[in-house]
């Protein structure tokens, strides 16, 4: 196995007592001495600081960058306002999702954040299809921090009051602890919060300044996963992948009217025929929320059936575990459309027994975004 990469905060994680694990080629903190459960609650009730520097940061610049990206991404990028951010995905010819991402209009460039495990492939993909018309520049000298939770605004605006004026999905350049930071008001926990791109050299000092606030604790990947699961947010490679379309992934909301059939810039992205067809007629299967009726967590891979005995498999759990804020097990899965309505009872096969689950609305915990 090749050597694990380290983020600029690696030594800080170790000093804080983190348990480090391999993740997407990086050594990352899965939890700190607080433990997953308390880290989760901390983030929901006060604030958590996450190191997400393993994720890919990319600038796409040049005249027509937005139009060029629309050839790969089925969302409205040309219509994205200045200093606004939106969710999107790269699609393949079969309509499947190659990666999901956030993109922000920074005026002279589009700033994109992609998943760690996909970033090399994403950059290759963009370079192959977009250059030389526009330039694709990976940002490799900046860390990425996420400050999430109800106290995030108070904590960050103490460093730069401009933070308080941002709304959900706004982006801005802030001066934090003496460092110029590219900040978005977004995250991956279902809570209000910010994602902060900061030069590597300034990252540790900024993290320490944020952690110095009494309301902030360092939070690992374990709680990040339970937070996003309760928040109904997809984990790429699990809930969605190259074989699931945005419609199957219940991400139709991300595809604005202008890119749909009849829209001014309809289609023109890989797999458009399939995705546009599914937007009108529905997809054969759909990502849903699932609430196990008992206490036993049901995790990724658990097969789902329509009845307690016999019958063909109708789907599978794509992520699941214990939801500390829900106080019980929660899951997401892909199920056949006929069984995807909220309130439907399905059965998961766990240790040889079929246990009931209810198809539930996502998110499991109310989103606390500052709209």
């Amino acid at each position: 196995m090749s050597e694990l990469l380290e983020t600029p905060l690696h030594d800080l994680h170790v000093a804080l007592g983190a348990k480090m694990v391999p993740f997407a080629g990086y050594s990352m903190p899965v939890q700190y001495p607080l433990g997953v459960m308390k880290e989760h609650i901390q983030t929901r009730e006060r604030a958590g600081l996450f190191d997400v520097s393993h994720m890919g940061q990319v600038k796409v610049s040049g005249t027509g960058a937005a139009a060029a990206l629309e050839r790969l991404i089925p969302v409205d990028i040309e219509g994205l306002g200045l200093d606004r951010q939106r969710y999107g995905m790269f699609t393949n010819a079969a309509g499947g999702i190659m990666d999901d991402l956030m993109l922000a209009n920074r005026g002279d460039h589009i700033f994109i954040v992609v998943n760690a495990a996909c970033k090399d492939a994403d950059i290759t993909h963009m370079k192959a299809h977009l250059e030389p018309d526009v330039s694709v520049t990976p940002v490799t000298d900046r860390a990425l921090l996420a400050l999430q939770g109800p106290s995030a605004q108070a904590v960050l605006s103490a460093l730069d009051p401009k933070a308080a004026t941002m709304r959900f999905m706004d982006v801005a350049t802030l001066s934090l602890n003496g460092a110029e930071c590219w900040v978005s008001r977004s995250g991956y926990t279902g809570e209000d919060g910010y994602e902060i791109s900061v030069a590597e050299a300034d990252a540790v000092a900024l993290a320490e300044a944020l952690l110095a606030h009494g309301d902030v604790e360092a939070i690992g990947l374990g709680a990040r996963d339970s937070l996003r699961l309760e928040g109904g947010l997809c984990l790429y490679g699990h809930d969605i992948d190259a074989s699931t379309t945005p419609v199957e992934g219940a991400l139709s909301w991300a595809i604005q009217k202008v890119r749909r059939s009849g829209g001014a810039r309809a289609g023109g992205f890989p797999g458009a025929d399939i995705i546009l067809g599914q937007l009108e007629q529905g997809a054969p299967r759909k990502r849903v929320g699932l609430l196990p009726e008992g206490r036993a967590p049901m995790r990724e891979g658990v097969a789902l059936f329509a009845s307690a005995e016999g019958g063909a498999q109708i789907g599978a759990i794509t992520s699941g575990g214990f939801g500390p804020s829900v106080g019980g097990p929660v899951a997401m899965g892909l199920v056949d459309r006929a069984h995807s309505e909220v309130g439907t009872t399905v059965f998961g096969e766990l240790r040889g027994k079929r246990l009931p689950l209810t198809i539930a609305k996502l998110p499991f915990t109310a989103a606390n975004f500052k709209r």
């Binding site: 997953v36 459960m37 374990g222 339970s226 206490r295 967590p297 995790r299 214990f322 240790r351």
Partner: protein
């Protein structure tokens, strides 16, 4: 107390042997969120999987440490799995077993042996 390599502890009482998992095990597992206990009256064989525990991280099995019959289970633990984290060798016990061959206990580690095992 006796200990197994599976990180169980066994405490002999008048009416059976109480079994739980060690603090070392609960620390490694992280927050425990689900425990499925065997039914009282079940006859079990050494190394048979008889308890399922799930932490925030993963599911694991607990094996029967000796042959015997399950005579009591800790219902309070099933209700509140966090007891295993909070008080591993006390309120977080799992089940009580009536050994069918008490000599099997002789093969298990004592406290000094277990401490060495996890060191």
């Amino acid at each position: 107390m006796k200990y197994t390599e599976e990180h169980e502890w066994l405490r002999v009482e008048d009416d059976g042997v109480v079994v739980g998992i060690t603090e070392h095990a609960t620390t490694q597992l992280g927050d425990i969120v689900f425990v499925e206990l065997p039914e009282v009256g079940t006859t079990v064989t050494k190394d048979e999987e008889i308890v399922v525990i799930e932490s925030v991280k993963a599911a694991s099995d607990i094996l029967a440490p000796i042959d015997g019959e399950i005579v009591e289970v800790n219902e309070a633990l099933a209700e509140n799995p966090a007891l295993a984290n909070e008080d591993a060798i006390g309120a977080g016990w799992f089940f009580k077993i009536e050994p069918s061959d008490p000599s099997q206990m002789d093969d298990l580690m004592d406290e000094a042996g277990y401490k060495k095992f996890i060191a």
